[in-house]
């Protein structure tokens, strides 16, 4: 094996993603979309896709282009494709937003925005799948975390497939009966495939490796880890495959979803057990901010799972689905993403700047690029705000939800400022910052000669 290199556009992915996170928080704080608008209203659909595609998917893909080669010890199949991939996704998201505005009669209805969005987003995800798929395919070994990522990438196909069907039906490009039936009933499958299959399963796979790496804990290849993978696959197969079949054949769709939920919850429980084991078995006693804050994200995942169980028992999952989705998207996925970004941005910047001169001259440590004490308060504010927002959604008090979203926005601003400072080496002492042979990094990309 030859090693992994720095992916040139990783920072551009992260910056784009953070832009959309901030945009989404502005919308929520300003009362745009749910709970002021209905779940299916264009404003809510815009908000949801800004979060799911603009923030979470772009963040995840940026991380995967860097992380999959590390995971399987094999170079990325194609180094230049990530940039067109990003451009296709961003322009596709813009077209999708315009399509939703069209539904709300807020823009000129003549242009086929939904069709355009289908093509551009389809292309962006296809590029990403091709690049990551070929990388995984060519690798000599695919450890368990990589197999979680493969399941996540397969779920992208299902998510995007449903999304394209919905877009074409909404745009009245097609009136094909089964498509119209799916557009009427399969929204929940689209959400499960995206939030559960693509984002959560991938995050689970990545977290197994990252947590082990940063805490000096053993790599898990336990039977519980394998069982979590297989149960996760089974839950997705039942929800996506079984759910689609049920809609098209008039079978009991709710029964399929309930079955999937039970298997999925079991998988989450096994994952939770593994994570507790990782934290306990770690050799590193004092853990860094990213692992401490990841624990709060993991607690949010556990809380989402408990909430689902309680609501299923009470038979009220549908009424409170928005609160569960909010907690999973912002507490679990976004919380984990922000926490790990804190370390990843510092590490990649450190490697880019100081890697070439390590050992030749005195260089700062990775931890010298960050000031954890300053970042901790923003992270704590972020998680508290997310949990407050969840409670506000459960009790249905929208001013409190807007207040919580505003607090999330402030916290995110604080966190993003830390990322920018790290990237510009602003927290490294002036004497240590730029030894001979080291150049200040660019904010958004690494030089092309980095290998």
């Amino acid at each position: 094996m030859i090693g992994a290199s720095l992916s040139r556009w990783t920072m551009a992915y992260f910056a784009s993603a953070l832009f959309f996170l901030v945009a989404a928080e502005c919308m929520m704080a300003g009362g745009y979309g749910f709970p002021h608008a209905a779940v299916g209203a264009p404003a809510t659909l815009i908000l949801v896709h800004v979060v799911a595609i603009g923030w979470l998917s772009v963040l995840m893909l940026g991380a995967l282009f860097q992380f999959v080669p590390v995971l399987v010890a094999h170079p990325l199949h194609n180094d230049w494709l990530p940039l067109p991939t990003l451009l296709a996704l961003l322009s596709g998201l813009a077209a999708l937003i315009l399509g939703f505005l069209q539904l709300a009669s807020q823009v000129d209805p003549e242009l086929p925005f939904f069709a355009l969005a289908s093509v551009l987003l389809g292309l962006g995800f296809a590029f990403a799948l091709w690049n990551l798929g070929r990388t995984l395919w060519s690798a000599q070994s695919r450890p368990l975390p990589a197999r979680f990522v493969m399941v996540g990438l397969t779920s992208v196909v299902a998510t995007a497939g449903f999304g394209i069907v919905f877009a074409l039906v909404l745009a009245r490009t097609t009136t094909y009966g089964p498509f119209v039936a799916l557009a009427g009933s399969a929204l929940v499958i689209h959400v499960i495939a995206g939030l559960g299959g693509w984002l959560t399963v991938t995050a689970v796979g990545v977290s197994y490796r990252l947590l082990a790496m940063f805490m000096l804990a053993p790599e898990l290849e336990r039977s519980s880890t394998k069982a979590a993978l297989y149960l996760g696959v089974a839950a997705l197969a039942v929800a996506i495959g079984g759910g689609t079949w049920a809609i098209l054949h008039g079978a009991n769709f709710t029964l399929m979803l309930s079955g999937s939920a039970m298997v999925g919850l079991l998988a989450v429980a096994l994952y939770a057990g593994d994570v507790v084991y990782l934290y306990k078995a770690r050799k590193r006693r004092t853990i860094e901010l990213n692992c401490r804050m990841a624990a709060l994200a993991l607690a949010s995942l556990a809380a989402s799972a408990v909430l689902i169980v309680v609501l299923l028992v009470l038979g009220q999952l549908k009424e409170y689905a928005a609160a569960v989705v909010f907690l999973a998207a912002f507490g679990w996925l976004s919380g984990l993403g922000l926490a790990q970004l804190y370390k990843i941005v510092a590490f990649l910047t450190w490697l880019e700047c100081y890697g070439p001169v390590l050992g030749k001259t005195q260089t700062p440590r990775v931890q010298d690029l960050v000031i954890e004490r300053r970042a901790t308060k923003w992270f704590l504010l972020y998680f508290l705000a997310v949990w407050a927002g969840t409670i506000a959604l459960v009790i249905g008090y929208s001013p409190a939800f807007q207040g919580a979203a505003a607090a999330m926005l402030i916290a995110t601003g604080g966190i993003v400022a830390q990322f920018a400072r790290t990237r510009r080496l602003a927290d490294v002492t002036a004497a240590a910052r730029l030894p001979v042979g080291v150049r200040k990094p660019r904010l958004l990309f690494a030089p092309s000669h980095q290998n």
Binding site: M1, I2, G3, A4, S5, P69, V70, A73, H74, P75, L76, H77, N78, D79, R134, T135, S138, Q140, M213, F214, L216, P218, E219, K283, R284, F347, W350, L351, G355, P356, V357, L358, G359, K360, T363, R365, V366, G437, N451
Partner: protein, 176 residues
Amino acid sequence: MTVPLLELDVRPILRAGGEPFGQIMQAVASLVPGQGLRLLATFKPVPLFSVLGAKGFSHEVRELVGGDWEVVFRPTDVAAGVAASATAASDGSDWPDPLHHLDNRELDPPEPMVRILTATEEMKTGEVLSALLCREPIFLLPELAKRGHAWRGGFEPDGTTYKILVRIGTGKQATV
């Protein structure tokens, strides 16, 4: 002047799940001065560009029909002699006993990488360093290659300790 290119097709090895790196380096070591290498692979071997670039080879890349890749590595003016001597270590030839031993298994990342690179900077050409790690040093290997050092590494039979041997190369001065 025009020595024919040495051709190496590693696609069968890659398709069988094998690791052709040793064979590629062996082929590079066997090149006569001025000779280039035509490599056929199932993927674009990007890290090789810097490994061989550090040894003075330029590269031309072409994607073949069917998704395979052809890369032609040609020695630039100063390269051929240095390249052969610097990379010979990656083949099966015997290395001297390690002069230094590092146990980096309990260190927080990326401290193991920092210690190894620091140690290599204080060693002389041909000397060997041995280090124990708790995982494959993914980001260290390209850096060693850029500095012209050769390495051999792999997991010990216990499956958790990764042992790497680094032999200090002659390409050291040519780097960054």
